[in-house]
Assembly symmetry: C2
Homo-oligomer: 249 residues x 2
């Protein structure tokens, strides 16, 4: 049996941020499995089977990839960003752990990619230059109370915070509550970055004070990064720079 | 004036994880600035000036890069991993903010790379598959009390935790204290990953219970990742898989 699964990160969307390891796996693959818009990023070619699926069917998608590999196929599961950060790698291992025993010794590799928070950070300066945390704001897979608790503890720890999946049509109200809590615990002056579709032609960056942040500034293509108490915002003609110094007092 | 500075992430050490954007910047550069071992990763060529410096002189290195760019040179500042995560980007912006006013409108770009925690995570499974934090354990630039406080709050928030710079010859004792605190707040069974020199020929992964973790398992080439209360460790012949499910109860 010579099949394998590689869970590969395509990065934020530009070809210049796809690693050579990921490019090589895509070339070697017989099958591409993933959410439709990510599969669409892979160039079609003869004998390459594309298996595009809907959002929110991560476990089914993972099981498909694993069963194809068990049949001897060479399968790349595509994620945007990095597969290990709020993406397909955890779903794949969950399906694998709960799957049939012949899957146990399958050849599974995770190929890292540029995750959204690091792409957004690079475009804005270096807001994650000191200790930070990453929180998924979707409450599809965890209770809302846990999100609130983590926000308050992260603020108390004075982490910079990177927020994935801040707001979707199905969850329009949660992010407004997040901004309220952050204003309460971090104060109105704390800078917050809304980085939409970075490294694509639709890129749009906004940096505002928490007092001026509005829920509509975020959608599912937006990465939101809140500075720590030490984060600096420097204005210049070329656009502002947001960075968190390496030191803390 | 056509000079520029690009702060580029070389990733964990293998050519397959250097992005095309970073490779292109290295090709276009007239000057490479960075810590010796990272500069040594760049292939020398005619008319390319290499400026290798010691560890712990980040601000001087940043100022050199900025003044070369101000003279019209094309400068790549090389970091390992991602430049925005405990690396050169924050130092560059600090030197820039405090530098002469003609630097203000310089062309400065940050080119993201694969940071150590994501490389380590990929090799072990997906331990950062749910909410997590990243903490630099060096107390060179922050008080030790802040590190302890962040550890306790991060444990209370039930984050997985990625630890950069866990231990060095100059700081042999701090990491032992970190392990004590983690055992106290997370209990003896929590899995912890020691990932040394990942994606290089010297790669070595160890996953142990906190009860069995010893300070000597880490050095400056080791990324340490602690699971959350939800993290799963699955044994198999090919080596264990450590992953944190996407959901939380």
């Amino acid at each position: 049996m010579s099949g394998w699964v590689a869970v590969a990160g395509l990065g934020p969307g530009s070809a210049g941020l796809v690693t050579p390891d990921v490019a090589a796996a895509l070339e070697e693959a017989t099958d591409i499995v993933g959410y439709g818009p990510y599969v669409a990023r892979v160039a079609p070619r003869e004998n390459l089977r594309l298996h595009a699926s809907d959002n929110r069917v991560e476990l089914e998608r993972a099981a498909l990839a694993l069963s194809l590999a068990a049949e001897g196929r060479k399968v790349v599961v595509v994620s945007s960003g990095d597969p290990g950060v709020f993406a397909m790698a955890a779903a794949l291992f969950e399906a694998w752990e709960n799957g049939p025993s012949p899957w146990r010794e399958l050849d599974i590799r995770v190929l890292p990619g540029i995750t959204a928070m690091l792409a957004a950070s690079a475009r804005a300066g270096a807001p994650l230059g000191h200790d930070f945390c990453a929180i998924n704001l979707s409450d599809n897979l965890k209770p809302w109370s846990l999100i609130e608790r983590r926000l308050r503890l992260a603020a108390e720890a004075d982490f910079a915070m990177a927020f994935y999946n801040p707001r979707s049509k199905a969850r329009p109200h949660g992010f407004a509550r997040v901004l309220e809590i952050l204003r309460e615990v971090c104060g109105p002056e704390r800078p917050i970055l809304f980085a939409r579709a970075v490294f694509t032609p639709e890129e749009d960056l906004k940096i505002v004070r928490l007092a001026d942040a509005r829920p509509e500034m975020a959608d599912m293509r937006t990465m939101v990064i809140l500075g720590s108490s030490q984060t600096r915002l420097i204005m210049r003609d070329r656009g502002p720079i947001l960075y968190t110094p390496r030191w803390s007092e």
